[in-house]
């Protein structure tokens, strides 16, 4: 599934994609890197997606990095929380590569102009 997201972003947006297998892995690479967009799943091993969003927003480097949240239907409230914490958008599965890329493009461009 991660590969699916990656392939879509690479092939359709020509993006350079970095993957993290878990919330903590992401946590480790975040302070040193800059991203145009971070795609976060709410339900990750170790560190949940909301915590990652919260962490990023508290971190100067990522205070404004666009975050796209991918979330579970079962936890609608999780999405609300995520958006409240500063995620910029969310996407629900099943989604097509096109939908993902459209979302991603909008978020990246939105942050560039604003």
């Amino acid at each position: 599934m991660r590969a699916f997201v990656r392939a879509a972003l690479e092939e359709e947006l020509g993006a350079e994609v970095m993957e993290a297998e878990s919330g903590l892995r992401a946590l480790r690479s975040l302070p040193a890197e800059s991203f145009d967009l971070v795609v976060v799943d709410v339900n990750m091993p170790d560190l949940n997606g909301l915590e990652l969003v919260s962490f990023m927003r508290k971190h100067d480097r990522h205070a404004a990095t666009p975050i796209l949240l991918i979330s579970t239907e079962a936890a609608e409230r999780d999405v609300e929380k995520g958006l409240a914490l500063g995620a910029n958008g969310f996407l629900s599965k099943p989604f097509t590569p096109d939908a993902l890329c459209e979302r991603a493009r909008a978020l990246i461009e939105g942050s560039g102009s604003g």
Binding site: M1, R2, A3, F4, V5, E19, A20, E21, S22, G23, L24, R25, L27, R28, P31, V39, V40, D41, V42, N43, M44, P45, D46, L47, N48, G49, L50, E51, L52, V53, S54, F55, R57, K58, H59, A63, I70, S71, T72, E73, A74, A75, E76, R77, D78, V79, E80, K81, L83, A84, L85, G86, N88, G89, F90, S92, K93, P94, F95, T96
Partner: protein, 705 residues
């Protein structure tokens, strides 16, 4: 497009296998009354991912079914429904359904989703999860803001059970956080449930990170602190209720280390819920309900590739062709060597060819290695069936598996599943007694079914053993008499081992009332035939009252084999070396005739002989010396009489083609490399054939077939 499709199938298969394993763990845990919430969450995520990818790839029925199951799992993980055996039945049924929908032809009708939804409806009578509010907890709002619904549920459950909650603050270096965290998890495993990890910014110089770990534990606080810190740097703090100190009965708990309510997380952003973000409004309501997880959490399979076994067969054929080229080069080298002027050149060519040969062998081994899969894959599937069958028949069965890591050729594993399934169904239906009967017999009410696998030389042995009622020789013989597959005089002389072997005769069944387990149209004779087709044999051992054991002996691979080349009546034949015990010179004087069959004595035991030229109706050639190739499969031995031994060679067996598919006694044909083609003998099949006709003669059975 079809690649994408295949990729989906492979991934879905992987998820289903993982689900199946997790459900079996859950089943065990449920019986022991020790269900781990993690495991339910894991199953939930698996089904969730399956639903997502199935939807994306247009498997609507599968997706819909996963959807209904997911609802049930969500209720389970959030504590709205309790895990019972009935619920587990539905979960297992769901996994079976997934498997069927993914099966060949992917018939969308293969599963009645409505029926399934009703089954789920029946078990998911929702239960209130007790009203405990987290707002009372001495937790900062910023903490509550990042908890998922599931984590909140875990907090609530622990609260309502009176399990104390703690916050552990640890500082990890970013470079070692993975291993640090693993260690922490390991230490926490036995003493606490980790609910979540909360990172906070800013501790140290950016190379370090502070983590607040929320956990629940019944272990006294000082002990807990000791275990978790393990000499390192960690602060443990009890999370109490707001306004007033902890009301818990836990006397050992020290007051919070710091008087401020909780440990405020540094926040730069108000955690209060904002009005719904525009994105939310934009999405159609239906979509909102249908959100999905796990885009990022699916197990990484990046360092493995999935390969169609036919591609490997093709590669193996190419290797076979290359081996033929190598032999041809060797022959040409010999001819060049004969020319004195070119002698030096021939030696060089010979050396190069030897190098080529070595690499070819490596290549061959590499391809063989790739074809190997652990039997555990198959055992997992069987475990699911065992559980189901045992429940259907009100029997208590515990499965013991050893040697799941034993590797066998993928094709063999595929072909093994039916025969093994049949043996297992028989073991549960006919073998293992009902709990009451077992208790009367002084046995534990729970029956033991063992699946053991191990490698033995070039063979893999799989045992299916139960500690049930065993088989009764006398009853087997009586049944065979009734069915007319045994004559009275043969019955009078039958040994108990031979009596057991009767179950492999076509049309044999000991039960007068055929239960739905055994009445599936597959008899033990089919099991035997299937195993034989794989180049294996099945042996049976049984003791009345204490159990039955089937031992299946199989070659490790079918792709390439070492063979003994022999000549019979001027023709070449290959005998798989795995079946050959030894080859000896035939001492004509030692041949005796017993019951119309030729036999010799070999180190004290009688060895039946079979003259291949006669068997194949070839015109015998005159020869002073003949050889006996002693073939053994399992417990059986036959000596095949041949004219000459022609050495040993690795061969790739090629099928004889459709028109000759029914010809018995041959496993296929092979190209020997010097424009000679040899038929490959199907040693187990031939042995069976020869011994069967012999036994029939010996037993004096009525003509049959």
């Amino acid at each position: 497009m079809s690649d994408v499709h295949d990729e989906f199938l492979a991934e879905a298969q992987e998820i289903i296998e993982a689900l199946s394993r997790d459900l079996l763990f859950l089943d065990q845990a449920q019986k022991e009354g020790n269900v781990q919430p993690d495991l339910i969450n894991e199953v939930f995520r698996g089904v969730h991912t399956l639903k997502g990818i199935a939807g994306m790839f247009g498997f609507q029925t599968l997706s819909a079914m996963a959807h209904t199951l997911e609802d049930l799992l969500d209720d389970l993980r959030l504590g709205r429904v309790a895990l019972s055996q009935e619920v587990l039945d539905v979960l297992f049924e769901g996994v079976e359904g997934f498997q069927r929908l993914l099966g060949e032809g992917a018939d969308e009708e293969a599963v009645d989703v409505k029926d399934f939804a009703q089954a789920i409806e029946r078990v998911s009578k929702k239960r209130d999860s007790g009203e405990v509010t987290l707002e009372d907890l001495d937790l900062d709002e910023s903490v509550l803001a990042v908890l998922t619904e599931y984590e909140e549920h875990r907090l609530r459950t622990n609260l309502s059970q009176g399990t104390p909650l703690y916050r552990l603050r640890v500082r990890f270096s970013l470079t070692t956080i993975d291993s640090n965290l693993e260690e922490l998890k390991e230490r926490a495993k036995s003493v606490a449930e980790i609910i979540t990890y909360l990172p906070s910014v800013g501790g140290g110089d950016g190379d370090e990170i502070d983590l607040d770990v929320l956990l629940a534990s019944d272990t006294p606080a000082d002990e807990l602190g000791e275990v978790l810190a393990a000499g390192g740097d960690a602060e443990l703090e009890r999370i109490g209720r707001q306004g007033g100190r902890e009301t818990s009965h836990e006397a050992l708990v020290p007051p919070p280390l710091d008087d401020a309510p909780g440990r405020p997380m540094p926040t730069s952003r108000p955690p209060a819920p904002e009005p719904p973000a525009p994105e939310r409004g934009a999405a159609p309501p239906q979509q909102q309900r249908d959100m999905s997880a796990d885009a990022l959490s699916l197990r990484s399979v990046a360092n493995t590739v999935r390969v169609d076994i036919r591609k490997l067969d093709h590669l193996m054929n190419v290797v076979g062709e290359l081996a033929i080229v190598r032999s041809a080069v060797a022959r040409i080298t010999e001819r060049i060597r004969a020319n004195d002027e070119l002698r030096q050149l021939a030696i060089e060519l010979h050396r190069v060819n030897r190098g080529f040969e070595r690499h070819l062998e490596e290549l061959q081994e590499g391809i063989l290695d790739v074809r190997m899969v652990p039997l555990g894959q198959l055992f997992d599937k069987l475990a699911r069936i065992i559980r189901q069958v045992a429940r259907e028949h009100d029997k208590e069965v515990r499965l013991l598996v050893t040697g799941a890591e034993t590797e066998v050729d993928k094709l063999i594993v595929e072909e093994l599943s039916d025969p093994l399934m049949h043996l297992i169904r028989n073991a549960i239906d006919h073998g293992i007694e009902s709990p009451k009967v077992r208790e009367l017999a002084g046995k534990p009410s729970e029956g033991i079914l063992s699946l053991n696998a191990y490698q033995k030389g070039n063979h893999v042995v799989i045992e299916v053993e139960d500690d049930g009622t065993g088989m009764n020789d006398e009853m087997l013989v009586q049944a065979a008499l009734r069915k007319g597959i045994l004559s009275q005089e043969a019955a009078d002389e039958i040994t108990s081992q031979d009596a057991l072997e009767l179950i492999f005769m076509p049309g044999f069944s000991t039960r007068s009332a055929i239960t739905d387990l055994s009445g599936r149209g597959v008899g033990m004779d089919v099991v035997k035939t299937n195993i034989n087709r794989l180049g294996g044999v099945v042996d049976v051992w049984s003791e009345h009252g204490s159990g039955t054991k089937f031992t299946i002996t199989l070659p490790v691979t079918l792709a390439i084999i070492s063979a003994l080349l022999v000549r019979v009546a001027g023709r070449d034949f290959a005998i798989p070396i795995t079946s050959v015990q030894e080859a000896i010179l035939l001492d004509r004087a030692a041949v005796r005739t017993v019951e119309g069959r030729e036999v010799i004595s070999l180190r004290g035991s009688t060895l039946p002989l079979c003259r291949l030229d006669r068997l194949f109706r070839l015109l015998p050639v005159q020869s002073d010396r003949r050889f006996v190739v002693v073939c053994a499969v399992g417990q059986r031995r036959v000596g095949f009489v041949v004219d000459a031994l022609d050495g040993q060679q690795d061969i790739v067996i090629k099928a004889l083609g459709k028109s000759l598919a029914d010809v018995r006694g041959f496993a296929g044909a092979t190209d020997l490399g010097d424009q000679r083609v040899a038929l490959v003998l199907d040693a187990p099949g031939l042995l069976e054939e020869v011994l069967r006709s012999q036994e029939l003669q010996q037993l004096g059975a009525e003509t049959h077939e």
